[in-house]
Amino acid sequence: MARHEYPWKRRPGWWLRNPRYLAFQLREAGGVVCALYGLLLLNLLMQLREGESTYVAFLTMLRTPPVLYLNGVLFGLVLWHAISWFMLIGKAQPVQLTRKPLPWKAVFGINVVLWLGVSGAVVYLIFGGI
């Protein structure tokens, strides 16, 4: 007898139906944004090579409100990308320092502390103090 299965069809907007799917999609989008921002920084170097006036014009364009708003959104996505990966590290590769693996929250906390420390050091190196 022929089987009349109904094939599975993914619904549009599936990632909006579950907050964890949305968090995942934003994490992935954050990865794309990281790559695009890297290209922007490379472009900044190219503008610098073109000469001071070109470089200053590019910097002026980066300071316009639409670009600043866009930067804010991109920064939020990059932050979420970093934080969500810190949350996953302890689950993706359990850290076995003791008989039982460290809880993911402890691994998350350690990573955040390290992250803030490194970020603080970078800010100190660039600006000579916070």
Partner: protein, 246 residues
């Protein structure tokens, strides 16, 4: 115990040419100690004997009564109506599987994937029944978590990667592969890792992590897949650097 009314909005699908899934509403009484499976059985016994769904043990062991309850993959025997009802409880077949009838889906694809990772102990000396393969409690502990898998398929229904790439080997098959790889009696790790270290193997996983969230047995398939990625990489490097070890 006081009874209240609840509406079950259940997917119906008749397997006929051109058939499409639709919803059918059933109003039924429920008590606070009733689970969704009790509600489905009430419908079957008193309202509509044509409703089709799988169930067996009623205690979260057989893994056959999985369904999407209000959009969340769950075991109907472990989900209390009082916890999911806001007047209406939506019961749909598990996502990412073809529907055979009503709430019954086709698991054949999973069974093929499971078979491909050899979910049994592989021994080179298989057939020598005079031997005894002893294990210590710590040997059992190494794979106990993955051995709790009941093949309920909630993890496949929750995984958006399975929905995007049906060829992906998926969470449960990966977790069970790790269960046998970690078994001290097993000698089939190389063959399993060869299968898993492919495009449609563990590398397809982007770590959404929802499989571990919905798992009723805390098997944590997401972590199992990440562990398999490490093992597959180590196997690949070993074969690259020490070809004689093959």
């Amino acid at each position: 115990m006081a009874e209240q009314d609840v509406v079950f909005r259940v997917t119906r699908y008749r397997p006929v040419p051109g058939g499409r899934p639709t919803f059918q509403d059933y109003r039924l009484p429920f008590r606070n100690d009733m689970v969704v499976l009790d509600g489905l059985n009430y419908i079957k016994d008193h309202l509509d004997p044509t409703l089709t769904f799988r169930w067996s043990c009623r205690m979260g062991i057989c893994g056959s009564c999985g369904a999407n309850i209000n959009g969340q993959p769950s075991l109907t025997c472990e989900t209390f109506i009082r916890d999911v009802s806001r007047g209406v409880v939506t019961v749909e077949p598990l996502s990412n599987f073809p529907i055979l009838k009503d709430l019954v889906v086709d698991f054949d694809d999973f069974l093929n994937k499971l078979a491909s990772v050899k979910p049994y102990i592989v021994r080179k000396d298989w057939g020598d029944w005079t031997k005894e393969y002893t294990q210590y409690p710590e040997d059992l502990e190494a794979y106990r978590q993955q051995s709790l898998c009941i093949n309920c398929m909630l993890c496949y229904a929750a995984c958006p990667v399975v929905g995007t790439s049906p060829e992906f080997i998926g969470p449960a098959a990966s977790a069970l592969a790790l269960r046998y790889i970690r078994d001290s009696r097993d000698e089939g790790a190389d063959a399993r890792l060869a299968r898993l270290n492919t495009k449609n193997g563990v590398w397809e996983c982007t770590f959404v992590g929802e499989c571990s969230v919905v798992c009723p047995k805390d098997v944590d398939p997401a972590a199992a897949i990440q562990t398999l990625k490490v093992l597959a990489t180590m196997r690949h490097l070993r074969r690259l650097l020490m070809p004689a070890s093959r």
